[in-house]
């Protein structure tokens, strides 16, 4: 039955995705919730909680406030805290009860901003979508609000790039974010900003200086869309896992950056090329081992990137089972959107190997080889020490196939 899970875990929710995406930017995120969301987030979704003093709170919504529609309590509490703690921005994210009561996020954000003078967002999350939905929204909001016009272009400078869609929920805190940046720099690209691990709000506000965006998870697609619409900056989608795929990504990045820079320098009336998708080899073209099928379960873009690496490096067929939101046009026609346990089980029937978080193992067929790839977004902190840096060391997974 849809919506039931006999034994597997649950992905981090949209409200946590907002908090995770904004965590390092110096703002104050308020989950409009009774209780529980904050301790869940800080225990299972946020590995940086103990070490960074980011301000993430809950509103402590009560039954009577919800019934009476007492938004003034929330507004007053946020304004009081903001006055004391001086955040760079304020974000309010919703949970099931505000969703049910029709809480007007936009209006409340406007009131708070007018009272405090601090930029304020209202993100209408419901707690019923995955973290990707919330992180997408949050990074899109940051792109629309804080990115400033670029300075004059230096045509001799190396191509510049933003990394969009970095959160510990997909990349943990094992150095993958730094490895992606290092790979870009080693290949002659200059990193302007990393959304949103390892960059300040000031660095992120300079994102329009970039010639191209690298979108490493679906969480970054909203920001990519804004940066394209406002500045024409194109994007390449994918994580540089494995040398062959990384080479594809590098070529796509440099080609897009070259075209964008030309557009900026010549005022090309045709406009930039827009979001560019990494070329993907269809499964049916080079089935080196026809009877073997590797199923990869997880977030869309990171799973697709791993699947590509397996395809390129090992020649095996792959199928991505995407359990989080992923816009159309990212996955291949044989990949599947599988939000529920009962969606996943039949898709694994013909798999010879399954790469997934260890908490998926109980539903994987006994005959398939199970290769654990822990995800903070699914199992939280439990297997953190076993999460590999696939950018620096793709063989951590590939060698097991």
């Amino acid at each position: 039955m849809k919506q039931t899970a006999r034994i597997i875990s649950t992905y981090s929710a949209d409200v946590m995705g907002v908090s995770s995406a904004l965590f390092e930017l110096g703002g104050m995120t308020v989950m409009h919730d009774a209780s529980g969301c904050n301790s869940t987030y800080t225990t299972h979704d946020e590995p940086r909680w103990y070490d960074m003093d980011s301000m993430v709170y809950i509103s402590g919504l009560s039954e009577m406030e919800a019934i009476m529609g007492d938004d003034e309590k929330l507004i007053g509490d946020i304004c009081d805290a903001a006055e004391q703690l001086s955040p760079k921005f304020i974000a309010i994210a919703g949970t099931p009860i505000p969703t049910m009561t029709g809480f007007d996020f936009e209006a409340v954000a406007e009131v708070i901003e007018s009272r405090t003078g601090i930029p304020t967002f209202g993100f209408p999350t419901s707690g019923m979508n995955t973290y990707i939905h919330g992180a997408f929204m949050a990074l899109e909001g940051i792109a629309g609000r804080f990115v400033t016009e670029p300075e004059a272009l230096d045509p001799d400078s190396p191509y510049k790039v933003n990394i969009l869609g970095l959160t510990p929920l997909d990349f943990s805190v094992v150095g993958q974010d730094a490895s992606i940046a290092k790979w870009l720099e080693e290949n002659g690209l200059s990193v302007v900003s990393k959304w949103a691990m390892g960059s300040s709000l000031e660095e992120i506000s300079r994102a329009a200086e970039a010639d191209v965006n690298l979108v490493v998870s679906a969480a970054g697609l909203g920001a990519a869309r804004i940066l394209y619409r406002k500045y024409g900056i194109p994007a390449v989608i994918g994580v540089p896992v494995g040398s062959v795929q990384s080479d594809h990504i590098w070529r796509a990045l440099t080609r897009a950056a070259r075209e964008y820079r030309q557009f900026r320098m010549t005022d090309d009336t045709e406009g930039p090329r827009g979001i560019t998708r990494v070329k993907i080899h269809p499964n049916e073209l080079d089935p080196a081992k026809e009877n073997e099928l590797v199923a990869v379960i997880g977030e869309g873009i990171t799973s697709l990137s791993l699947a590509n690496a397996i395809r390129f490096e090992k020649g095996l067929r792959t199928r991505v089972l995407c359990a989080t939101e992923c816009p159309d046009g990212i996955l291949r026609k044989w990949d599947r959107m599988t939000p529920d346990e009962d969606d996943i089980i039949p898709e694994l029937a013909d798999a010879t190997a399954v790469i997934a978080d260890p908490l998926y193992k109980p539903i994987c067929p006994a005959g398939a080889k199970f290769i654990p790839l822990p995800s903070e977004a699914f199992s939280g902190r439990i297997f953190r020490k076993d999460i590999p840096d696939l950018v620096a060391d793709p063989d951590a997974i590939l060698d097991q196939l």
């Binding site: 039955m1 919506q3 039931t4 899970a5 006999r6 034994i7 875990s9 649950t10 992905y11 981090s12 929710a13 949209d14 946590m16 390092e24 930017l25 110096g26 308020v30 009774a34 209780s35 301790s39 869940t40 800080t42 225990t43 299972h44 979704d45 909680w49 103990y50 070490d51 960074m52 003093d53 980011s54 301000m55 709170y57 809950i58 509103s59 402590g60 009560s62 039954e63 509490d77 805290a81 004391q84 703690l85 001086s86 955040p87 760079k88 949970t95 099931p96 009860i97 969703t99 049910m100 009561t101 419901s126 707690g127 019923m128 995955t130 908490l359 109980p362 199992s379 939280g380 439990i382």
Partner: protein, 467 residues
């Protein structure tokens, strides 16, 4: 220490109030709430798992499921835990009853082994949509007559209305007990997450009275759990267990006796005197045996407590002591005991004052007006650990036991490895609560513990549920 994101140069102001100036029962205004990394207290998943062989099914939104499912995963009980996710369309479709009934049925049908009991947890959404819970449980009981169902709740929005979620959950632990003839030679200690210590005054007294003792933490299977129903007296000593004890007495016919946890000798004695009367009246225990046993326990307890107070004070001297409410339900009673005996208690971390602590609160206001109360969830407490560490370093107090914390939150906020790592009283009751706490204080003073690692473990002691 926390890395500062906002590059603030000024120090944050840590909220706090002298106890003399504090209001009762809420010394601090409510506002946005912060969540510290200290996680040792139990939640509703841990507590529900105390029923042996039971299966928990949560019907909630994904954001609410996340915390409970990973609680089960971390405690190694995913095979006893399932979920039904509420999606946005369910709010509009008006099919909440169907979703619960069919979802629970679907899960039960997939389980490799039929559980004797299923705990179905509904949530705030069901409350607000007016979901017909009676209909749901009637249908489930019709479909699965071999399974005991009970209604459990994850509805924190109701935490300020009626029974708190914690009180409700502790009451649910005993709703599955089937009525059976009462045995006057059996009693049950109820409502605790952690087992009562075998050398505590309570267990010593019950043993001396020749009574059979049931406690959910020692039940190895569902049948042993059901045997608790034979008890003629139910004894609780966690304040949040008291409403459940009353419900149990009303339903099964035994007598509920609430024994106040306290660090005051007279209050301990009064509580045990009342218990002795009930045991003499309602059980096979002979009054003279109970009184004699109690006299011995009391005499030994008083002597041992006096010795322990002396020994501990000699050891830790004027080292500042800080206490938080997660250590036990009576933090101010403990503070009073320590202050009256010469210890330098400087702070108590508590967001509100328990009703039972009111006399201690007023006593402390009069006798120790400078004792500081600090909240734990106030937004500015985000910066307390950093600020306290900075302040200690500025005073050159970074080495050794600069402060001794009793409780995980106090340890976190003070950033100290010298702390008593206990939640919910740790199964200590009677004079054992005094001597046990003092012993743990001495150990904490002498030995550092990896506070960062320890306090982040959810449900301290929850391995008792895995059997």
């Amino acid at each position: 220490m926390l890395k500062r994101i906002n590059d603030k140069t000024e120090h944050a102001v840590i909220p706090g109030v002298r106890i003399a100036d504090a209001g009762f029962p809420a010394p601090f205004r409510s506002g946005l709430e912060y969540s510290s990394p200290a996680r040792g207290t139990w939640n509703i998943v841990h507590t529900g798992m105390l029923i042996p062989e039971s299966h928990e099914i949560y019907v909630c939104a994904a954001g609410c499921l996340r915390g409970v499912v990973l609680t089960a995963a971390e405690m190694g009980t995913m095979d006893r835990f399932s979920t039904v996710a509420i999606r946005e369309h369910n709010l509009l479709d008006g099919d909440m009853e169907d979703l619960v009934i069919e979802g629970v049925s679907d899960i039960i049908g997939k389980l490799p082994k039929r559980p004797p009991a299923v705990l179905v947890y509904t949530s705030c959404v069901h409350h607000f949509t007016g979901t017909d819970l009676d209909l749901i449980y009637a249908r489930l009981r019709e479909r699965f007559p071999d399974i005991d169902f009970t209604d459990c709740y994850m509805n924190p929005i109701m935490r300020k209305s009626g029974l708190t979620p914690d009180q409700l959950m502790r009451s649910r632990l005993y709703m599955l007990l089937h009525e059976r003839p009462l045995s006057e030679s059996a009693v049950a200690v109820i409502g605790n997450d952690l087992p009562t210590l075998q050398d505590s005054d309570l267990i010593r007294l019950l043993r001396a009275a020749g009574l059979k003792i049931h406690e959910i933490t020692s039940c190895r299977n569902y049948e042993e759990y059901q045997q608790m129903a034979e008890s003629s007296v139910y004894i609780s000593y966690n304040p949040d267990a008291a409403p459940g004890g009353d419900m149990l007495a009303e339903r099964l016919g035994g007598t509920h006796q609430y024994l106040q946890l306290s660090f005051d000798e007279d209050e301990i004695d009064a509580g045990f005197d009342r218990l002795a009367e009930v045991l003499s009246e309602k059980t096979t225990a002979r009054a003279e045996d109970v009184i004699a046993a109690l006299a011995v326990i009391r005499s030994e307890g008083r002597n041992e407590a006096a010795d322990a107070l002396r020994e501990t004070l000699e050891l830790i001297g004027d080292t500042p002591v800080v206490i938080d409410y997660t250590f036990c339900p009576r933090p101010l009673s403990l503070a009073r005991l320590l202050l009256d005996n010469g210890f330098k208690v400087t702070k108590v971390y508590a967001d509100s004052i328990p009703g039972a602590d009111r006399p201690d609160f007023e006593y402390l206001q009069d006798h120790y007006p400078d004792l500081m109360l600090h909240p734990t969830v106030h937004a500015a407490m985000r910066f307390a650990a950093t600020e306290n560490t900075c302040a200690a370093e500025e005073k050159g107090q970074a080495d050794g036991c600069r402060v001794l914390a009793i409780g995980q939150k106090a340890a976190y906020f003070e950033n100290t490895n010298h702390f008593v790592n206990v939640v919910e009283g740790g199964g200590m009751i009677g004079y054992k609560a005094i001597t046990g706490t003092l012993q743990l204080m001495r150990e904490a003073y002498l030995n550092e513990k990896p506070m960062r690692d320890l306090v982040q473990i959810k449900g301290l002691g929850c391995e008792v549920c895995v059997r």
